[in-house]
């Protein structure tokens, strides 16, 4: 079996994997190992066992360890007769390998089960991959359950997305999630993108922060609206108004009970 010579000790330090497609077989390969087909995937948060692993791009992967890629097409899987790990009936033709807490794990799936799990070269589109990795962690779990959560449980008051859901799907539930899950994002965005601030097409937000009638309201919106109003007031040199707004923001941030602090859907 081909060996992976640098186990994942730390999600930050070596948090990247690549995905390969050789003759229809997909394998995740740890940083520094070569893949012979032009496929890579985007970063997602995925929780595996007790470890939150962040997947990122292949280039980051290759250079994360400052090592040259090792050329290895994993001959261990060539011509192997293996039963599918999921159904146990069919011959496994899809082989997945990854490192969890320093241990190498393998998953072997028949094409049917692989299809069900959406394992294909398009899986870098994300959701399916995150889901797969999540299930994969369950299947190969060896770590005792009592390990503490690495990330505190958070819930978005607007859309009720939990941090667990976010880690599983890699998807946020609403615009306010960007505030709520900021701690996650501050870590993730630099690895995903060339920068952390928007550069490019801009649109003007309405001054009154008006939203569609059936919109979901939340305290976060209130804060944002006030901040937008404040910016506007300052730029219009309406300093009295600005001072009032500043006080209101201060109150809100200090935990003054807000009148619309409930997650109320205003639907007809």
């Amino acid at each position: 079996m081909a060996t992976i010579d640098s186990p994942v000790h730390n999600a930050r330090e070596c948090s990247t994997f690549s995905i390969d497609s050789v003759d229809g077989n997909i394998c995740f390969v740890q940083a520094g190992r070569r893949l012979s087909n032009p496929t890579s995937f985007l970063a997602r948060y995925v929780k595996i066992g007790v470890q939150t692993v962040m997947y990122t791009r292949k280039d980051a992967c290759v250079y994360a360890n400052g090592r040259e890629p090792i050329f290895d097409d994993n001959p261990a899987w060539q011509g192997l007769d293996m039963d599918c790990d999921l159904c146990g009936d069919n011959e496994a033709t899809n082989h997945i390998e990854m490192v969890i807490d320093g241990d190498k794990k393998s998953l072997h799936l028949c094409s049917q089960c692989a299809n069900k799990k959406k394992i294909n070269p398009n899986m870098f589109e994300g959701v399916a991959l995150a889901e797969l990795l999540h299930n994969f962690a369950d299947m190969t779990k060896e770590v005792p359950e009592e390990q503490p959560e690495t990330v505190p449980l958070m819930t978005c008051p607007t859309c009720e997305l939990t941090s667990t859901e976010f880690q599983k799907s890699g998807l946020l539930g609403c615009a306010d999630c960007y505030e709520i899950f900021k701690p996650f994002l501050l870590e993730a965005l630099p690895a995903l993108h060339k920068g952390v601030n928007h550069v490019g097409k801009m649109i003007e937000l309405p001054d009154d922060g008006s939203l569609p009638a059936f919109a979901v309201k939340a305290p976060v919106n209130r804060l944002k609206d006030l901040q937008a109003a404040l910016r506007q007031a300052v730029s219009d040199e309406h300093y009295e108004e600005a001072a009032a707004l500043r006080d209101e923001i201060k109150n809100l941030m200090e935990g003054e009970p807000s009148e619309d602090g409930v997650n109320d859907e205003i639907l007809p």
Binding site: P38, S40, D59, V127, G173, L192, M202, I203, P212
Partner: protein, 365 residues
């Protein structure tokens, strides 16, 4: 009176975004740009309830009415489409794989008559706005999609922040929400075994190369897509300029690889192409991967001026037409695998013989 199936209108017309004359059409097949957008104040599709989704669709529909490019566009709900029609749209690159497999309330798509623009509603984001064209025309395409997007903002309030730009369901798209991609035909680099090296090089600058088709067939047609990954911290025009530079370099490498093959192994190359032509002209059963492989070889032959009677568009279009959804749409019924292989060979033979006949006619005048 029974309304005509809107998808039939598309099936009756050639694949527009492959038929137009694009610059550099030999190696660069087509260009696509998509923007991810969400509406302010409404949960993203993953967290939206039925009424949210319906409301999003209604608002987008009203906004689309203000876009001249979308005049008389096809407006269909995914739930109203038969499986065959959804696969057809997928193969035509008008909807995504995810959108193809969902039939939730509010999942919808708007397709411009000319197929150069489509808007998916309630996919991963509320809107996925996409424009396509033949050849490499990144700059023009960006102007087009930017224009359409701006028209939509006149009637839609997007989820947007000054710091993070356009807010998307997945943080991988936040900021510009742009994905620009160019489809390339790279048989020379595949022959020369240089695809991997190119892929690595492209990755190091934050762009990605991937195969076009699904599992197994992904490299059969030697078609690859190069696209950006980062959407935050760089402007759309910067991303597009960078992508254009990368494409020019890849195209240059492809040209060199072809030149080297021509110089070192001309007979090998001609034989490979000639055999492909023979098979495509005369086969009665064609599996998908073989068809793609041989069409790719033939396309290379056309680029090398070996065939005066066939143009690259014919091959481009065949590559789309020979997919299962298209074949079944043409026959207007479900076909099993064997029937598809026969239908595939029929259509390829028919097209190539047509081209042949036309030239003979021209010569006899």
């Amino acid at each position: 009176m029974k309304a005509k199936n809107p998808i039939d209108q598309l099936a009756d017309q050639p694949v527009q975004w492959l038929s137009d004359d694009g610059p550099d059409a030999g190696i660069t097949v087509s260009t696509r740009i998509r923007l991810a957008r969400n509406l302010a104040g409404i949960p993203f599709p993953t967290k939206a309830n039925t009424r949210h989704r319906q409301a999003v669709l209604q608002m987008v529909r009203e906004a689309v009415a203000g876009v001249p490019l979308m005049d008389g566009c096809i407006d269909v709900k995914m739930s109203s489409l038969a499986e065959l029609d959804r696969v057809f749209l997928l193969e035509r690159h008008l909807i995504s794989r995810e959108h193809c497999s969902t039939r939730k309330t509010g999942n919808s798509v708007f397709v411009a008559r000319g197929e150069n623009c489509s808007i998916m509603v309630n996919e991963e984001d509320h809107l996925r706005l996409q424009v396509m064209t033949a050849g490499m025309q990144l700059e023009q395409l960006w102007q087009l999609v930017d224009h359409v997007d701006s028209l939509l903002t006149e009637r839609l309030q997007y989820a947007y922040s000054d710091d993070l730009g356009f807010l998307t369901a997945c943080p991988t798209n936040v900021g510009t929400g742009i994905r620009a991609s160019v489809m390339l035909h790279l048989p020379g680099l595949v022959f020369a075994n240089q695809i991997e090296a190119i892929t690595q090089a492209v990755h190091t600058i934050g762009f990605v190369v991937r195969g076009l088709y699904g599992e197994g067939s992904d490299t059969a047609g030697n078609l690859f897509q190069v696209s950006n990954q980062s959407t935050l911290g760089e402007s759309e025009t910067y991303i597009i300029e960078k992508l254009e530079k990368i494409i020019r370099q890849v195209v240059e490498h492809e040209r060199n690889a072809r030149q080297v093959l021509l110089e070192r192994k001309p007979k090998y190359l001609y034989d490979h192409i000639g055999r492909a032509y023979g098979i495509l002209r005369h086969a009665y059963i064609l599996e998908s991967s073989e068809a793609l492989r041989q069409l790719s070889a033939l396309r290379l032959g056309i680029d090398l001026n070996m065939f005066s009677s066939i143009d690259a568009h014919t091959i481009n279009e065949l590559m789309v037409m020979i997919q299962p959804g298209h074949l079944q749409k043409i026959h207007n019924r479900t076909l099993d695998e064997n029937e598809r292989d026969i239908a595939r060979a029929d259509i390829v033979r028919g097209r190539l013989n047509d081209s042949k006949r036309q030239t003979t006619d021209e010569q006899s005048h």
